[in-house]
């Protein structure tokens, strides 16, 4: 018994050093050399400020009013939250609403109405479910091609461009299923909105070309 306990203590130490320190530190060192961009979060900078990560979604609605920024494509509803105020950590989360929860129905009803209104759609126009269903992480970077197409006329109008010009940008930022079978076709909303700013500035004041952060 005591011999086994001594072995248990020593084995715990050895395995902790190997799998808890040597392994992650070696992988970190390798990653920083081979894939520095991905290893540091696929960050994107514009005008000297880090504006986000290429794989993380962000809101394109006014922080105070909740209204969409009309010249940008909107992403999916998010239940991610920032505890405390101001400069606080982004905590990923879904809504955790069950299918018969009235809070879910109320939220969807409000969002459906807002999207129909901001896009000048008929009162019974179909809204693709992904555009009004909260994502699992609250940080979903993508929307469906259908949800992007729905917004093309609005964004084109706001930016003073033809719909087919905007549609071409959507197509350029759309990815199909991997190998034709894995996952879903998707449009990266941040990449699309950055491409819009780069070719059709929303305001003429800023430098608008985004680059991978160094």
């Amino acid at each position: 018994m005591m011999r086994q306990l001594r072995t248990a203590l020593l084995m715990t130490m050895l395995l902790t050093v190997l799998t808890g320190l040597a392994y992650p530190l070696a992988i970190t060192a390798l990653a920083q050399v081979i894939f520095p961009y991905q290893a540091n979060g696929s960050l994107i900078a514009r005008g000297g400020t880090v504006i986000g990560s290429a794989v993380i979604g962000q809101p394109f609605v006014d922080g105070k009013t909740g209204e969409v920024l009309p010249g940008y494509f909107r992403g999916r509803p998010s239940a991610a939250f920032t505890p405390g105020n101001g400069d606080s950590t982004l905590v990923s989360s879904g809504s955790n609403y069950g299918p018969t929860n009235r809070a879910l129905v109320d939220r969807v009803t409000v969002d459906v109405a807002a999207i129909r209104r901001e896009n000048h759609l008929a009162a019974d126009a179909p809204i693709p479910v992904d555009l009004v269903a909260a994502s699992a992480s609250g940080l979903d970077p993508d929307i469906s091609p259908a949800s992007a197409e729905l917004q093309v006329p609005r964004v084109a109008r706001e930016r003073g461009r033809r719909a087919d010009q905007v549609r071409a940008l959507v197509a350029a930022n759309t990815e199909g299923r991997t190998l034709g079978v894995l996952g879903e076709p998707r449009v990266n909303v941040l990449a699309l909105n950055l491409a819009l700013d780069a070719t059709v500035p929303a305001t003429s004041r800023e430098s608008v070309v985004a680059t991978p952060a160094r």
Partner: protein
């Protein structure tokens, strides 16, 4: 529709192709044969034995094996508790996070030691990088290796004749970690990083989004932890959203690889079993029964989720798959990521609960009633559909002994399995390990249903609220770790109650199983005769599936009727409920 079938089909195909090579590799590892990795790793292995004072040639009786395993798990648990409580004094705490509160630290230490990885906390604002790497990820290796070691010991019980020993725990543990888990994780982590998973020790990144909001974007050594989290069927997320977080699972390809990593070792172990007992068809029969049960689950959950929620439809969310001339995911997308859609989310949910993984790439709390009942039932059955690493196989072998016992009762002959006579002692051990799971699940859920603090934690109203509590204790007892996360589990009733459920579900199941292994090893092997029930053909596979389904249905049907079944009919009728009404 087509792509759904192709994606599921490709998954099953690759799993079948992986089973034999990985199973053979594990057979070589645990019988002490040389592998391609031996030239590099054998010196390290020898060094471990020398430093820890292990005589690798000396095997253990089942009692010593059990004591060694329990002591090792206890030491690891205490170490993690200490790390979590002291993380503010330890390095790699760039966000200056305070110590983890006592009860939560207990719950978390138990959770990771038992391969559960239930998380009653938000990792982004609770765990330092040191706690993640040294406190938690170490258990992802050691709890996985513990499970696999026990499975191998149980197989030896079947394979050996007139033997007193079932292996050396320290040798099994070391060889599993060195030759199996670490090499695959090193390769896997680099693939994940290449596709966009971070791996850094820097502080969180300040980000000012286009809409003008400023936040700290959490980063960390994610990839190294993600790889073992999936391969070891642990499931504890680096982030709160787990494998739904784009940093843990950025693309459909990483998602597919993560799903394969969950089932790879459990599936391979069925072949290892066949090799060790000298008849690979015995292993494939188990594989077939597991696959049959798995496919039924995938079918039900995928159809339920793609059919969607009629209540959302009436609210104006169109759940069709072609709108405005462009593809849309359709179905119940609440709590699912666009890059995965319905098919890859439903498949992931069934896999992660069939195994004792518990990683999630979608919000199980937001699944439709029937779509979410399959994950619940998968765990409740004991996670024997491929199951956790090691735990799935030894859990399944318990059912196999029960099935052969029932077959023996039907024909009135002493049952035998793999040449071992199944006697009263063996069946008693089987029943002990089978009964402890539902006892803990239903007992604790019943207690929760009459405890005000437990009820106040529900995040959803009506039948769904009961399902949340039932799922929590099912997940904890089954050492799964997935959750209906609307439930606030960071209150004393749940941190302590779930902690106890995890301990009961892990160790009170393992001890009778190791006793069974020790008892079986001591028996002679009897020759097959005309009266032996064949345990390789379709009849046997059907009997196995039947026993598992009947035991599960008899145990849980009343509870499920009050939860997901009622909710299904309410959802179809369009009924909605408000919390607190």
């Amino acid at each position: 529709m087509t792509s759904t079938i192709l994606q599921d089909g490709l998954y099953v195909l690759l799993l079948m192709l992986l089973t034999k090579p990985l199973g053979t590799f594990m057979f070589r590892i645990f019988t002490g044969e040389r592998t391609v990795l031996s030239p590099v790793l054998h010196p390290i292995e020898r060094g471990f034995y020398r430093l820890a004072g292990v005589d690798e040639t000396r095997e253990m009786r089942w009692t010593t094996y059990t004591i060694a395993m329990l002591l090792f798990n206890l030491v690891g648990l205490l170490l993690t508790y200490a790390i979590l409580r002291l993380q503010n004094h330890l390095p790699l705490n760039a966000q200056a996070l305070p110590p983890v509160e006592e009860r939560l630290a207990f719950n978390t230490a138990v959770s990771f030691a038992t391969n559960t990885n239930w998380q009653s906390y938000y990792p982004e604002i609770t765990m330092s990088n040191f706690s993640q790497m040294v406190g938690l990820a170490v258990h992802n290796f050691t709890s996985a290796a513990t499970g696999i070691a026990i499975a191998i010991a149980v197989i030896r019980g079947f394979a050996r004749r007139s033997a007193n020993e079932i292996g050396n725990f320290w040798v099994d543990l070391t060889r599993c970690t060195l030759y199996l888990l670490l090499p695959i994780c090193c390769a896997g982590a680099l693939v994940l990083i290449a596709r966009g998973v971070p791996q850094t020790l820097d502080a969180y990144q300040r980000v000012t989004g286009i809409a003008g909001t400023t936040n700290l974007l959490p980063l960390g050594p994610v990839a190294s932890q993600e790889a073992i989290k999936m391969l070891g069927t642990n499931g504890g997320g680096f982030f709160n959203a787990n494998s739904a977080h784009p940093f843990e699972n950025p693309t459909p390809l990483t998602n597919f690889l993560e799903m394969l990593a969950i089932f790879a070792i459990p599936a391979g172990l069925t072949y290892t079993f066949g090799c060790m007992v000298g008849n690979t068809r015995q292993g494939w029969a188990i594989f077939a029964a597991m696959l049959g049960l798995f496919l039924v689950g995938v079918l039900v959950t995928t159809v339920a989720e793609q059919t969607g929620n009629p209540i959302l439809g009436r609210a104006g969310a169109d759940q069709g798959t072609l709108l405005y001339g462009q593809p849309a995911p359709g179905g119940n997308m609440e709590g699912k990521e666009q890059r995965f859609g319905i098919a890859a989310s439903a498949l992931f949910a069934v896999i992660t609960t069939a195994a004792s993984c518990g990683a999630v790439n979608a919000v199980h709390d937001s699944f439709t009633a029937l779509g979410g009942m399959i994950p619940l039932a998968n765990i409740g059955l004991g996670e024997v559909i491929f199951g956790g690493v090691g735990a799935g196989l030894y859990g399944f072998l318990v059912y196999a002994v029960l099935a052969i016992f029932i077959a023996g009762l039907m024909v009135g002959r002493t049952p035998e399995y793999i040449g071992k006579k199944i006697e009263p002692y063996d069946v008693k051990m089987v029943m002990l390990s089978l009964l402890v799971i539902p006892l803990a699940i239903l007992g604790f859920t019943g207690l929760a249903a009459v405890t005000p603090e437990a009820l106040a934690s529900r995040g959803n109203p009506a039948a769904h609220g009961l399902t949340e509590m039932l799922y929590a204790f099912t997940s904890a007892t089954g050492n799964n770790g997935s959750a209906l996360a609307g439930l606030n589990a960071n209150v004393p009733f749940y941190t302590i109650g779930l902690g106890l459920a995890m301990l009961i579900g892990r160790y009170l199941m393992i001890v009778p199983i190791l006793a069974l292994a020790g008892h079986l090893a001591a028996k002679k092997r009897i020759a097959e005769s005309a009266g032996t029930f064949p345990t390789t053909g379709a009849l046997w596979v059907g009997l196995l599936i039947g026993v598992i389904v009947i035991v599960g249905a008899l145990t849980y049907f009343p509870a499920y009727t009050l939860g997901p079944v009622i909710e299904h009919f309410q959802m179809q009728a369009g009924a909605t409920f408000a919390l607190g009404s």
